[in-house]
């Protein structure tokens, strides 16, 4: 399509120069480069401490900088708030869009809704630490209500039924329980890695499931989805082990739940449904939020516990 310009030019108008491809922080004027930061230094408050704060700011590229607030915190520490101008330029165009996970990260109400719609029953998962591994911290972080990184674990999802078998479960027990529960997915955690026990155990587990369900077409089609997690799986691919997915260090419950939806439910399970309305059922109204740093248990503890 062509546009008539008042000058009679029939070319398509040139894009306005994209100045935003090279950017600086924005305070109140384009290009002013203003940033704020706060930090503490392990020195008593005073002029010398402020000079130290300014030197740090200069080394961080803030020029000029000003200390707008300096407060003693006990005899040995000072807290600063500093504003300053950074000279750094960011070439935004050169920043590649980060690779996206192949499935969307869902909040708990969305997961519950998708399961309700696509299955009409609760999604059943069986979790365990297999072999001699007694470290349930991984499986508990994903499954326990307490959760991990401020996210509630899968037990908290109203539409997910969790069977957590705990530690030192044999492969035979796991297969038997998964069959009895008619599990949609099996989650196995492997923390102990001496003599590559985590790889051997996982392969043994996968082989047992494949043998138990010889006519299975795929995960969710004749056999449960097989998921393994642990800190030392970064050198292997799922197909090496015979599982459907490997999760590494730092995985949160929502990532696992979202993956289960992606892998086990048809894509249209996530389509907006006017009948459901914009709000979720009360039981999952607020579970997409990030945090409960309840002690103890915490973090432990249990403030708790």
């Amino acid at each position: 399509m062509t546009v008539e310009s008042p000058l009679g030019n029939t070319e398509a108008p040139a894009e306005p120069a994209d100045t935003r491809q090279v950017i600086r922080p924005y305070g109140d004027t384009t290009g002013d480069g203003m940033v704020q930061m706060s930090f503490s230094l392990p020195v008593p408050a005073g002029k010398r401490a402020e000079a130290a704060a300014l030197q740090l700011a200069a080394k961080m590229g803030l020029e000029p900088a000003s200390v707008v607030h300096a407060k003693p915190m006990g005899p040995d520490f000072t807290f600063f708030i500093v504003y300053g101008r950074v000279g750094h330029l960011i070439d935004y165009a050169s920043i590649p869009a980060p690779p996206e996970r192949e499935y969307p990260l869902l909040a708990a109400p969305e997961v519950n809704r998708a399961i309700r719609r696509a299955l009409g029953r609760r999604l059943v998962i069986v979790g365990a630490c297999i072999g001699t591994d007694a470290h349930t911290v991984g499986i508990d972080a994903i499954l326990n209500v307490k959760g991990f990184a401020g996210e509630k674990g899968l037990e908290y999802y109203g539409e997910i039924e969790v069977v957590n078998m705990g530690a030192q479960v044999t492969v035979a027990e796991l297969v038997e329980r998964a069959k009895a529960a008619d599990a949609d997915a099996v989650l196995v955690s492997q923390v102990v890695t001496q003599k590559n026990a985590h790889l051997h155990n996982t392969k043994q587990m996968a082989a047992a499931f494949h043998a138990e369900y010889p006519t299975a077409v795929a995960a969710g089609m004749g056999r449960p989805l097989l998921v393994v997690g642990g800190p030392r799986f970064d050198t292997v691919a799922p197909e090496d082990l015979g599982v459907d997915r490997i999760f590494g260090k730092g995985t949160t419950p929502a990532e696992v739940a979202s993956y289960l939806v992606h892998a086990l439910l048809p894509a249209d399970a996530l389509a907006p449904d006017p009948a459901d309305g914009p709000t979720a059922t009360p039981d999952d109204a607020h579970n997409a939020t990030r945090t409960d740093a309840q002690p103890d248990d915490p973090a432990e503890g249990d403030t708790a516990p």
């Binding site: 915190m73 911290v137 915490p298």
Partner: protein, 536 residues
């Protein structure tokens, strides 16, 4: 200052709520009186002075209790087999016996006749010496409270959690100097699921520091120093929860901790610890806490991290009434019941602050003599630290308006990281401002009769009675199995630690429990009086 009645609650409804809570608690108490657990038995050994661990960190208390269990079972308790073996020799001490038992070199038996009488006497002496040590620590606290001074409420409660006790100590002292009245050392993630208490001073933990006897002692000593420096007794808190609740309670009593998290259902709901295990362990823990003069903190605030704070407000009150009943039965006074609740309503809910005031005032009036512990927002802290700072100020305001006793200081970096030095300093600045600006506001805050706040409070109380009626009718174990508290379903035979529960046989002996059951935990202390029993 005793909180005045401001909500015009119907006293008959309040009495009904307490009666229903007592009815619901009764079968659970009966179960606790007729069962023991591996941790209750180990707690007796620790009370008798057994400490230390083998080279791999497995405590001698575990070795000894396991050896007894393997050979003669635990249904009669460890006391008779252990002190019988000691009497027969040639072991110089409990520790020596435990080391030999760990090597499989001790043959235990259930003594009879005069051997049983000898073992019983020796076990009773050992238990008495432990209880006496706890009594002395309590007297020591009373002395320090007199000599250094007891801060006025609300107490400011702060958390440290570096994982390294030697890093925690200067942080706790700094927090005290900056105004903390109570310091809590958060435990390392997952400690509640360990079926043993780690040993020694520890320098590594994940998102918290292990609860160990040495860590308790080091921190209490450091806070004693700073208490004397400040002229104000700084209290120390830890967590009597998880699979080793009775042992940790015992260590807390022996090392003069002042407050302990100790909820009747937290471990069940949030840690999937078996309900029976929890209730049996809990009764012993609370008896020890009562004796040690320790204030317990209950964990109702946690329900609101999973359930909606408006919809589930009545579950908090129901649980507080249950915790109160279990606490009274175990000998805790009202002044030892730090019942928990929280400021967790979604700020996007219209009138959220008025709803918070209604809930906080309701709890204040239901438990006028309890040192209520009020918890800051966590669920709706978003990472926007500036908005979080504002929300924390509103929380502090609600705390002073409704006369809360212990205020946990909210951190604007909640959910981002464990608090930095500067996070704590800013948080204290926040609470100081609110306290200085309107510390006496509770005097002026009288909700309009039949106004929004009063009506909401009455509504929550009404829902509480309905819920307790159902819990008392169905039984607590059934209610927990159905997900009544904190959304999660926890069947009575599921979860961790059930294999550590043993029904007591006739002739079961635990001399610590004998003392705790028989004696007034507050003895001849001035001002001590028996709690009024509520008929079931």
């Amino acid at each position: 200052m005793a909180p005045q009645r401001k909500l015009d609650l119907d006293p008959e409804v309040v009495r009904t709520a307490r009666r229903l809570a007592a009815r619901a608690a009764e079968p659970i108490i009966e179960m606790a009186r007729t069962h023991t657990t591996v941790s209750v038995e180990r707690a007796l050994l620790r009370l008798a002075g057994l400490s230390g661990a083998d080279g791999e960190g497995r405590p001698w208390a575990n070795h000894l209790a396991d050896a007894v269990r393997d050979q003669v079972g635990l249904e009669h308790g460890v006391a008779l087999p252990v002190w019988d073996a000691l009497a027969r020799g040639p072991y110089g001490s409990l520790a020596h016996l435990a080391r030999e038992a760990a090597r499989g070199r001790v043959k235990f038996r259930l003594p009879a006749g005069s051997d049983a009488a000898t073992a019983t006497d020796a076990a009773r002496k050992a238990a008495r010496s432990g209880i006496t040590r706890i009594d002395r620590r309590r007297a020591e606290r009373d002395r320090m409270l007199r000599d250094t001074g007891d801060p006025a409420q609300p107490w400011i409660y702060l958390i440290v959690a570096t994982g390294d006790i030697y890093e925690d100590i200067p942080q706790a002292q700094a927090a005290a100097r900056e105004g903390a009245d109570v310091v809590a050392v958060i435990r390392s993630t997952g400690q509640s699921l360990l079926d043993f208490v780690p040993e020694g001073p520890t320098r590594e933990g994940y998102a918290g520091t292990y609860a160990t006897q040495d860590n308790f002692r080091l921190m209490r000593a450091a806070l004693d120093d700073v208490s004397r420096e400040l002229g104000r007794y700084v209290r120390l808190t830890n967590y009597a929860s998880g699979l080793c609740m009775p042992e940790i309670a015992t260590l807390a009593g022996l090392e003069r901790l002042d407050m302990m998290l100790n909820d009747c259902m937290y471990g069940i709901i949030f840690r999937d610890i078996n309900p029976r295990r929890t209730f049996v362990d809990q009764r012993f823990s609370r008896q020890i806490h009562a004796r040690a003069g320790i204030v317990i903190n209950t964990g109702e605030d946690n329900y609101l991290t999973t359930a909606d704070a408006v919809d589930a407000a009545h579950t908090v009150v129901a649980s507080q009434l249950l915790n109160e009943r279990f606490g009274h039965e175990a000998g805790l006074t009202d002044a030892q019941l730090g019942l928990g609740h929280a400021f967790e309503i979604n700020p996007a809910v219209p009138q959220s602050f008025r709803l918070e005031l209604a809930h906080a005032q309701l709890v204040r009036e239901l438990f006028p003599d309890a040192p209520l512990k009020y918890m800051p927002p966590t669920k709706h802290m978003t990472g926007n630290i500036f908005a979080g700072y504002l929300l924390d100020a509103f929380f502090n305001l609600a705390g002073v308006m409704t006369g809360q006793s212990i205020i946990l200081i909210g951190m604007m970096t909640e959910g981002i990281h464990t608090p930095w030095l500067s996070d704590r300093d800013l948080a204290l600045e926040n609470v100081r401002y609110v306290r200085d600006a309107c510390g006496g506001l509770a005097d002026d805050f009288v909700p309009r009769p039949d106004g929004f706040v009063a009506q909401r409070a009455r509504q929550v109380l009404g829902e509480t009675v309905e819920l307790l009626d159902k819990v008392a009718g169905d039984g607590m174990l059934t209610a927990i199995a159905e997900g009544t508290f904190g959304v999660t379903r926890r069947p009575a035979d599921g979860g961790k630690g059930l294999d550590g529960v043993v029904e007591r046989a006739p002739g079961y002996l635990n001399p610590a429990i004998e003392i705790l059951d028989a004696e007034d935990p507050h003895g001849a202390r001035p001002g001590a009086h028996a709690e009024q029993e509520v008929p079931a």
